[in-house]
Symmetry: C2
Subunit: 212 residues, 2 copies
């Protein structure tokens, strides 16, 4: 498969395309024009045509897009169904909430185990996921070929967990800790959910809105 | 105060500047060059000089930035210390985790109340924040001049909560529901934390990394 250059902004929008197309499929809609899709997503039709052109088209002038074909193509571009193996580190409230509410499988991730240092949690089972001792983590990652770790420890434990994950050979970290993680010399992929940055952006827009 | 045009990418970086400069202050560092700041943030010195130039400078060639001055200026641009009044809607695991762990005050937000529909939670107090009945929400927002709502309901309750918030005159919503919210004709500001989009971006980068 050829890998065209895709801009960061297009990649940012791909998950939204996947979500919207999945919704359309559930609603039983088989075909959609760039105008209709744009209206749903608050994007211009030409923006949408341009985005999909990066991946080689999929649409037909005056005929619209086949929802299923387009959805499958976007899913494949995003690597959904690659069966990435995953662990979660830190089973506090955020970690537990993810285990209980987040549908990892539907995004192509298989959650194999959770890790914690708290003895009252080790040995438990949260929504079918066993909670293991952090001291076993490096071995577990190596022997089970784990690709991705969800990092939901407290701030104090974050960097040590990262070092252990990297020692075990982890390839990507989904970071909920609000810490700026240091991957050292490793080329591990870090994708962060920064609550505070998001709230500060909101505050910026609120400060600068007409009625502020 | 003059309001210069500031690009979306610069605004995206401002919260990181604030976080890094606050850390530097705590470490007792008074002055920093664009090179040193860049090394910490993995940005080039010229990128940093360019970003701050948008706001009219602050630095002096060959002398660096005064950490406190720069930090205060960035905080002011972001609207920290404006004392925005805030409520939280939905006290499930995510909502509770935010109430217990997130330092809203340090970002300039004053959390006045939480709302839920569950009778076992109404009347409780979570970390000093009273949990009230959703039926009181519209009035509360209007009479207390609430600016911002954290939306952490389940998906099913999200849009109805939004409609009520808008009816009460809310100005901004910090959205944790994974739903694409419809603000109708209102000009409410919506800033979303999209877990799934973030994870899908991670999957994309993992699929396209050299060793995939």
């Amino acid at each position: 498969m050829k890998k065209p250059y895709i801009s960061k902004n297009v990649i940012q929008r791909m998950p939204r395309y996947l979500r919207t197309l999945t919704e359309l499929q559930k609603e039983g809609i088989h075909r959609i024009s760039s105008g209709e899709l744009g209206a749903r997503m608050r994007l211009t039709p030409s923006q949408i045509r341009q985005d999909f052109a990066c991946f080689g088209g999929f649409g037909q002038q005056g005929y619209g897009y086949n929802v299923k074909t387009l959805r499958d193509e976007v899913a494949s571009i995003l690597g959904v169904n690659r069966g990435f193996q995953m662990v979660l580190v830190g089973t506090g409230k955020i970690g537990q909430s993810l285990l209980e509410n987040f549908d990892f499988e539907s995004y192509g991730f298989k959650l194999r185990a959770a890790f914690d240092i708290r003895h009252d949690l080790i040995g438990e089972n949260i929504c079918g996921v066993p909670v293991l001792d952090c001291s076993e983590m490096e071995d577990f990652i190596r022997s089970n070929g784990i690709h991705v770790a969800v990092l939901s420890t407290n701030r104090a434990g974050a960097q040590r967990a990262v070092d252990t994950l990297i020692a075990g050979g982890i390839r990507a970290i989904w970071n909920f800790t609000e810490c700026e993680l240091s991957p050292g010399d490793s080329d591990v992929i870090i994708e962060s959910i920064h609550f505070s940055e998001s709230l500060l952006r909101l505050g910026y827009h609120l400060s600068n809105s007409a009625s502020a």
